[in-house]
């Protein structure tokens, strides 16, 4: 049974991006596990230039953003936008598939380029120079593709908050990308370059990942719960808070560096103030759940999303503390920051994507989730591993910071970190087992369709393409 809304969604594109996202997530896990072995003296490929640990780490971080997150968001956008607006995206048959292939090509070229030693020394901008223009073009195409339905709708009715977030993210990211990947690489050296790099690092997270993630949550949460968002006013507050304070905090990645202090003070202040905007969003999501919390027991997608929101609250609280110049004396440069990065990138946005995918995957396959038990195992293992890794890295980070401050020999900080690095690999193993369950379940759910519902698929997906 297809509703009218479903016929304007291209199921095959959603399907393809979901598969790419999950496959690349597995690659990200693999690279993360590999690199973490270097810290235990167990790195399996010593002496191979192509697999130099530093390069593997970079594949890990870039794969997480460009592979897993961008694919996951794009899949969810292909689903959510037509449903939010009642309009098709600009073009599915040509542009949609071209973008799909181009994105996977860019990710592969980035990974190979990094392993071959062509990376650039910009965090998350390590994409080799010959890939950058393609990514810019891709982002511009995505802008056209996804703002078209919003534009069509905007001519008729006022927009949902979700759409605002999406527009904002899609408009900001090409500008930010050009700034971060060209200016500090080719034009501005040194400290000024560092200020620009910081702005890029933070904008990539804050002006793409955050608004698109929030926007998608503003779609999926009410849809899964079948009730409206608690407060429209709060969602607006969150939007303007994000728009105003996020671009102002880039330099907080380089506090106590020689970057002029006015930029550093502004970054610290706006980071703290931004927490207000984030709290408004979190409160809004939580109040939407009010009275329906038992739905978390039934719906695993919803659980992924809400656990992500709780992790978000934790990270943001942590962020307001760690950005203080006093705290920075200890935690900057340590594993604390790595723990923070994992909790926000995977514990929040990653979990949201896992939730979106858990929700969408049976739908695009016209099947049921293969095994609820497996789903539960995957959820709890990934959650447990994530939180353990976070606690472990925070603790390790504090110890590193204080050991450095105490002027002990450098190797002491390495020795003291050892148990925590074992803990990281162990919790990573837990997560990897969880991911294996998730993928097995995912695979089986996908197979179900070909047996029982092949007819429905043809009607549904075919209708989408035509």
């Amino acid at each position: 049974m297809k509703s009218e809304q479903d016929s304007i969604i291209n199921y095959d594109l959603v399907y393809a991006h979901i598969v790419a996202s999950i496959v690349l997530l597995a690659v990200v896990f693999l690279a993360g596990m590999l690199y973490s072995l270097q810290f235990l003296h167990l790195y399996p490929f010593p002496g191979i230039e192509f697999l130099s640990p530093g390069r593997v780490r970079t594949v890990h971080t870039n794969g997480a953003v460009y592979g897993f997150i961008v694919n996951g968001f794009t899949a969810a956008l292909y689903w959510a936008l037509p449903r939010l607006t009642g309009q098709r995206v600009m073009n599915e048959k040509y542009l949609g598939w071209f973008m799909f292939i181009a994105l996977q090509g860019a990710v592969a070229a980035t990974a190979i380029g990094i392993l071959a030693g062509d990376s650039q020394a910009i965090p998350w901008g390590e994409t080799p120079w010959y890939v950058d223009p393609f990514i810019v073009v891709w982002l511009l195409l995505a802008l056209v593709q996804f703002t078209t339905p919003i534009y069509k709708l905007a001519n008729k009715e006022p927009l949902y908050a979700a759409n605002w977030y999406m527009i904002a993210g899609l408009v900001w990211i090409p500008m930010v990308y050009i700034m971060g990947n060209y200016v500090p690489v080719f034009f501005v050296p040194g400290i000024a370059g560092a200020a620009i790099t910081g702005t890029w690092i933070h904008d990539a997270v804050g002006l793409y990942v955050t608004p698109i993630g929030w926007g998608l949550c503003y779609y999926f949460i009410p849809v899964i719960l079948k009730k409206p968002v608690w407060s429209h006013a709060l969602s607006l507050l969150g939007f303007w808070g994000l728009a105003f304070f996020y671009p102002l905090q880039g330099v907080h990645h380089y506090l106590w560096s020689p970057i002029p202090m006015y930029a550093q003070y502004a970054a610290v202040l706006s980071t703290i103030v931004l927490e207000l905007a984030v709290v408004s969003v979190i409160v809004n999501f939580m109040m939407t759940l009010k009275g329906r919390a038992e739905a978390l027991k039934e719906s695993i997608p919803l659980r992924w999303i809400y656990v992500g929101i709780i992790n978000y609250a934790i990270t943001c609280f942590q962020c307001a503390i760690q950005v203080l110049l006093t705290t920075q004396k200890v935690i900057h440069y340590t594993d604390w920051v790595v723990g923070h990065a994992h909790l926000i990138m995977y514990g929040t946005f990653g979990f949201w994507i896992m939730g979106f995918i858990s929700y969408l995957w049976p739908k695009v396959n016209h099947s049921e989730t293969y095994s609820k038990a497996l789903d539960e195992w995957a959820f709890w293992l990934l959650l447990l591993g994530m939180e353990l890794m976070w606690v472990d890295l925070l603790a390790g980070g504090l110890i590193q910071g204080f050991t450095w401050w105490s002027l002990s020999p450098w190797m002491d900080s390495i020795r003291y970190s050892f148990p925590f690095w074992i803990g990281r690999t162990a919790s990573g193993t837990l997560m990897s087992i969880g991911l294996c369950f998730y993928i097995y379940n995912f695979y089986k759910t996908g197979r179900k369709k070909t047996v029982s519902l092949i007819h429905a698929h043809e009607v549904g997906a075919g209708g989408g393409v035509r």
Binding site: F39, A154, I191, G193, I414
Partner: protein
């Protein structure tokens, strides 16, 4: 429609303001400082580079010829590129902060003008320290130490997590172009903050040939202290005492 247009414009304005304050304003503030080219840098070739040519004459001659400004420029640039290609910067920062006693551990606190050169394009401040900061690395260890360290890190510093870099060496285990360049690069980092190195060296050579009665004294002291005390005396600021002890095999 009107409303979403307003959203778009205001959003872009906010973005522009934030970007101005965080990225453009620091750039304008620092624009006064001239940007050094590679030629400018090569006006001050650190003595470690000449020592490298003496330590590894065959290899050096094969890849770089004579040790002079020209070959220094080539080696430095290649070394910097390898530092980026092998992503050393994800484990090593290049910024001494004015807090957490870093000036005692590493040396002089970082200042903006030392970064205004093409070797910091892109900048390499980095946000993670697994290994120590490297912006004051020049002269902390000898060239031999670095060669041995890159070849097999754990035999030089037991327990370290820094990877060994086999591809810095040719089949026979001699330094190749990459290895020589990386050593040039790390020995250059911070050499501009250590003019005292040269002064102290001059003092030491003079102290070595005073009158007879004194020279006996120095000779007596020498064997006992030279190995451990020399680095400290040579670099009072770098806090060599807090360097890992494993660093001296």
């Amino acid at each position: 429609m009107k409303f979403s247009r307003i959203v778009l414009i205001v959003g872009i304005l906010f973005f522009a303001f934030g970007t101005f304050w965080q990225a453009v304003a620091p750039w304008l503030s620092l624009k006064k400082i001239p940007v050094k080219s590679l030629e400018d840098i090569a006006k001050d070739v650190p003595r470690e580079f000449y020592m490298l040519a003496e330590d590894y004459p065959v290899e050096f001659n094969k890849y770089f010829g004579k040790a002079d400004e020209k070959s220094f420029m080539v080696a430095l640039k290649t070394g910097r590129d390898i530092y980026i290609a092998d992503i050393c910067w994800q484990c090593h920062s290049q910024c001494v902060r004015p807090v957490s006693r870093e000036e005692i551990r590493f040396g002089r606190i970082s200042y903006p003008s030392e970064y205004n050169n093409v070797m910091q394009l892109p900048q390499l401040l980095s946000t993670r320290r697994v290994g120590p900061d490297l912006i004051r690395e020049s002269g902390v260890h000898s060239n031999d130490w670095h060669a041995a360290h890159f070849k097999d890190t754990r035999s030089v510093v037991p327990g370290t997590v820094m990877p060994s870099y086999a591809w810095f060496f040719d089949k026979d285990g001699h330094l190749n172009k990459k290895g020589l360049s990386v050593i040039t690069y790390v020995q250059w980092l911070g050499s501009w903050t250590k003019p005292e190195k040269y002064v102290l060296q001059a003092v030491n050579t003079e102290a070595a040939k005073p009158e007879s009665s004194e020279s006996v004294k120095t000779e007596e002291v020498k064997p006992a202290v030279s190995e451990s005390a020399k680095p400290e005396a040579a670099k009072p600021e770098t806090g060599a005492a807090v360097k890992p002890e494993g660093g001296k095999p």
